[in-house]
């Protein structure tokens, strides 16, 4: 049962990721990226990481993609006005991406000592109850620091988005 689900979700993820790169219209890119995020969320559920499944849908498919869509519509880029890179550059870029995938595949020569490779067995570690306990004991300091990061990000975004006084006068 689970290999079928895995294969379906993997194919959906890869195809929609390709569509993100090759779609001419940026709005289509955003929409297919949402499909990719949902299929990755499905894979989290397959690995019994329920907390991350929910966070993936709320944070990525919800908040981040809405932000992208907002900016896209704010800048009115939905019309295809994007100048394309030259063909020579595209060939070089694809070749370097292919070389990178070669490096990665060389790096993942299958390790016989990995033992039980099954990643979909029923286990408790992905549940909110367990992750919450770990997050608020072992990882409490990083958790608090990330709130400072959010504050800094918020202040930075407001500061960058604000018009300078010189600009508004003219």
């Amino acid at each position: 049962m689970s290999p079928t689900i895995f294969l379906t979700l993997a194919i959906i993820a890869v195809v929609s990721a390709m569509f993100v790169v090759f779609a001419k219209n940026p709005v289509h890119s955003v929409l297919s990226l949402i499909v990719t995020f949902f299929s990755i969320a499905g894979l989290y559920l397959l690995m019994n990481a329920q907390f991350l499944f929910v966070v993936q849908i709320i944070v990525y498919a919800g908040a981040i993609m809405v932000l992208f869509l907002f900016v896209l519509m704010l800048l009115n880029l939905s019309a295809d006005t994007e100048p394309q890179k030259s063909n020579r550059f595209r060939v070089i870029a694809s070749a370097s991406a292919g070389l990178l995938s070669l490096v990665f595949s060389a790096g993942m020569v299958i390790d016989a000592t990995m033992g039980d490779r099954n990643v979909t067995n029923i286990q408790e570690i992905g549940l909110v109850k367990h992750l919450g306990k770990v997050l608020f004991t072992d990882y409490l300091v990083p958790f608090e620091i990330s709130s400072i990061l959010f504050l800094a990000g918020m202040v930075g975004a407001v500061l960058l988005g604000k018009r300078t006084p010189k600009e508004s006068k003219s």
């Binding site: 940026p26 370097s96 991406a97």
Partner: protein, 102 residues
């Protein structure tokens, strides 16, 4: 394929990451470049969760949570910078952003 193993997740995450890299290199629209960066982050997240399940250790999933936190902050600041760039140059073409060279 009788059961899903860690290798399948490694292959899938590698594919998604390489697609993201290709997108960053090929596209010129800065928003699409940012989306491809998000795709790469997601590929890494997927691999982290797979290994966290494989080793039965929750540290990987906590790290994925922190990566999501950093990604959210990064997108907010990145898009604010992008809006500012658009206001000055009337374009989101990354090849126009070589002003520091002159």
């Amino acid at each position: 394929m009788t059961e899903v193993t860690a290798e399948h997740y490694i292959i899938l995450a590698t594919t998604l990451f390489v697609i993201g890299v290709a997108g960053v290199l090929i596209r010129r629209n800065a928003i699409v470049v940012l989306m491809c960066v998000e795709l790469m982050l997601n590929a890494v997240n997927l691999l982290m969760v797979a290994f966290s399940s494989h080793h039965k250790d929750s540290a990987g999933q906590i790290f994925v949570f922190f990566i999501m936190v950093v990604a959210a902050a990064e997108v907010a600041v990145g898009l604010a910078i992008l809006v500012m760039v658009y206001r000055n140059t009337r374009s989101t073409d990354v090849s126009l952003l070589d002003q520091l060279k002159n």
